[in-house]
């Protein structure tokens, strides 16, 4: 790990995932000469100004052209470069889904696609700017790995893991300004290896993305009521850590999956697909954005609307236990 990241955690927490991502890409460029970054007219939004200024020959802005963003990245990767293509999660996996299938998945190339502002973080901008289906779209493409890190350091470490990973990765980023530091110290981050954030034997929250902090908050509430609660950071949605899930299914009475995504095709869907083949598995409840377009509102409002705050999650678990 780049040790400079530890000094940045507070700043990244204050500024949100875009800064954690943008600053980390600059660090990656310094450490890996084959690394290049691309965006589709999002340089300031994606916090890539420093990258562009520091590595102008390794930064490509393809214009407002997401299909070409993906194909162009594939061509760069076929020739041995390591592209990181950054776009809005609301646009990038869905508009160029076919490019992600044909050029990245099918040719199994080393491109990391980063979707910033996943979920409903763009609240007041409305539903065209919400990414509620991005995991579902990408998860169905063979060879793709899907990662949803939970905090500044896990975002940083996940990006470093991506450049050592063979095959295409989609990384969806959630967590705006003020999102908490869940990992204050260096820790072991491995793609496909979930982290048992807290142990417990009654309820198990299996969470992806920045809602980890809300799952932990819900666990605090349940624990205060004497309900033993496990929290799993399932940062890699594909491939799932089925070893961890086997442990959860055998030791916990209720599984609550937690994600800022549609109830269809995301983490909840992935866990349910795996659970379908496990005998005597516990009940699962999917805490999500549901299957609907959202009302207009800021992020806190939409989290409340969808029952994704810590008290809501605790109540959901208690009701279903």
């Amino acid at each position: 790990m780049n040790k400079a990241a530890l000094d940045k955690l507070q700043e990244w927490s204050e500024k949100g995932h875009r800064s954690a991502q943008g600053d980390t890409l600059v660090m990656l460029a310094a450490d890996y000469p084959e690394m290049v970054a691309l965006s589709a007219d999002l340089t300031p939004t994606a916090r890539l100004v420093e990258f562009k200024d520091t590595y102008p020959d390794r930064f490509f802005d393809v214009g407002i052209a997401e299909q070409n963003l993906i194909d162009f990245s594939a061509g760069l990767a076929l020739e041995g470069l390591r592209p990181f293509a950054v776009g809005l999660a609301a646009m990038v996996p869905m508009r160029p889904a076919e490019q992600m299938r044909a050029a990245l998945g099918y040719m199994n190339v080393n491109v990391t696609v980063i979707g910033i502002e996943a979920g409903v973080r763009f609240g007041p901008l409305g539903n065209t700017h919400y990414a509620m289906d991005d995991i579902a779209v990408v998860r169905a493409i063979p060879n793709f790995t899907v990662i949803a890190p939970s905090d500044p350091l896990s975002t940083h470490k996940a990006l470093y893991a991506c450049i050592e990973h063979e095959g295409p990765v989609y990384m969806r980023l959630t967590g705006g300004p003020g999102y908490p530091v869940m990992y204050p110290e260096d820790f072991d981050f491995q793609i496909g290896k979930a982290i048992e954030y807290r142990t417990g034997s009654d309820v198990a929250f299996v969470s992806s993305g920045s809602l980890l902090s809300d799952a932990v908050g819900a666990a605090d509430i349940l624990e205060s009521k004497g309900i033993s609660t496990r929290v799993v950071d399932m940062h890699t949605v594909k491939p799932l850590d089925t070893e961890m899930l086997d442990k959860v299914f055998s030791e916990n009475a209720l599984v609550v999956t937690v994600e800022e995504h549609s109830s269809i095709g995301g983490l909840g869907g992935a866990v349910a697909e795996y659970k379908a083949g496990v005998a005597d598995a516990p009940k699962q409840v999917i805490a999500s954005l549901g299957d609907k377009f959202q009302k207009l509102g800021d992020h806190a409002f939409l989290m409340k609307e969808n029952g994704l705050t810590a008290p809501d999650l605790a109540a959901l678990a208690e009701t279903n236990l």
Binding site: V36, D57, R58, F60, V62, G63, A65, Q67, N68, D71, F72, S73, A74, G75, L76, A77, L78, E79, G80, L81, E98, Q99, A102, A103, Y106, M107
Partner: protein
């Protein structure tokens, strides 16, 4: 002018490739083949493989090879026949075309050890990927060229124009694209489906454009390709090669019926006779 020996070689290989296209397509039986779009592009592909490109079938992944991306992937028989005649793949492998478990699908699948650089068939994407490959060569300071075969119908695709603008922005003069302008696409003529001034569009996008009147004439194609390959004018190159769909087969030439379909025994015999009498 292309030298006579090269023209002769390309013409000889083109004749063999046409025969391969008919044999492979007929052997596919009821699975059919995209005969028309393969046959229109034979001289273009033959000129690349046997005249212009730096390539070596014995060392298919050598670092300084010129790259060929067949973006109009449905015309895969033109590519497979060239790979066969050049020695990248064997006759036995050619005979598996479209068969169960074959690596020679109806659209190319990336397979560098056999000379297939990029998976294509989803139209427009091969071209955009080729632009990325050309940019990578610039970034890495490598001198090889990237050649890309595009269909005229394929230029209906939005990603073609996203990539076209981007290629100009990054001054990809190491990229030479060729449009197989055969004037027929799947459901009709290009005039009926999307009647646009192809040359004007590419010029407006900022490309270095050259039109050749007969893209089925090896000498013309070679001359155009050699000129573009040697040009470092800061612009990506586009050769618009006017061709005949189904070129060389009497009942296919210019036909709307031979974009893709199976061939029966009578048609096969007629096609073989046409090629023998050519």
């Amino acid at each position: 002018m292309a030298n006579t020996e090269t023209v002769d070689l390309v013409e000889e290989k083109a004749a063999l490739m046409r025969r391969d296209v008919i044999e492979m397509g007929y052997a596919a039986g009821g699975r059919g083949a995209h005969f028309g779009p393969a046959l229109s592009s034979i001289e273009i592909v033959a000129s690349l493989f046997f005249g212009v490109m730096n390539n070596d079938p014995k060392n298919p992944t050598m670092a300084d090879r010129d790259r060929f991306v067949q973006s109009k992937g449905h015309a895969c028989l033109a590519l497979y026949s060239a790979l066969g005649e050049a020695g990248y793949i064997t006759e036995e492998q050619m005979a598996t075309f479209k068969g169960d478990g074959s690596f020679l699908a109806g659209h190319p699948t990336r397979n560098p050890q056999y000379g297939i650089e990029v998976s294509s068939g989803s139209l427009g994407n091969g071209f955009a990927v080729a632009c990325g490959m050309a940019k990578a060569a610039k970034v890495k300071g490598e001198g090889h060229k990237v050649f890309c075969l595009v269909g005229d119908g394929e230029c209906n695709e939005g990603v073609i124009w996203e990539a076209a603008m981007n290629a100009v922005k990054y001054k990809l003069d190491n990229l030479i694209a060729i449009i197989d302008r055969n004037f027929v696409q799947l459901a009709g003529t290009t005039k009926d489906i999307m009647d646009v001034d192809v040359e004007a569009l590419w010029r407006a996008a900022g490309w270095d454009v050259l039109v050749i009147e007969d893209g089925n004439d090896a000498s013309s194609v070679l001359e155009a390709l050699e000129g573009m390959k040697d040009s470092s004018n800061g612009k990506p190159h586009m050769i618009i090669a006017n061709t005949t769909k189904g070129k060389g087969i009497s009942f296919m030439e210019g036909s709307l019926n031979w974009h893709a379909r199976p061939m029966n025994k009578d048609q096969y015999e007629q096609a073989v006779a046409d090629l023998e009498n050519a």
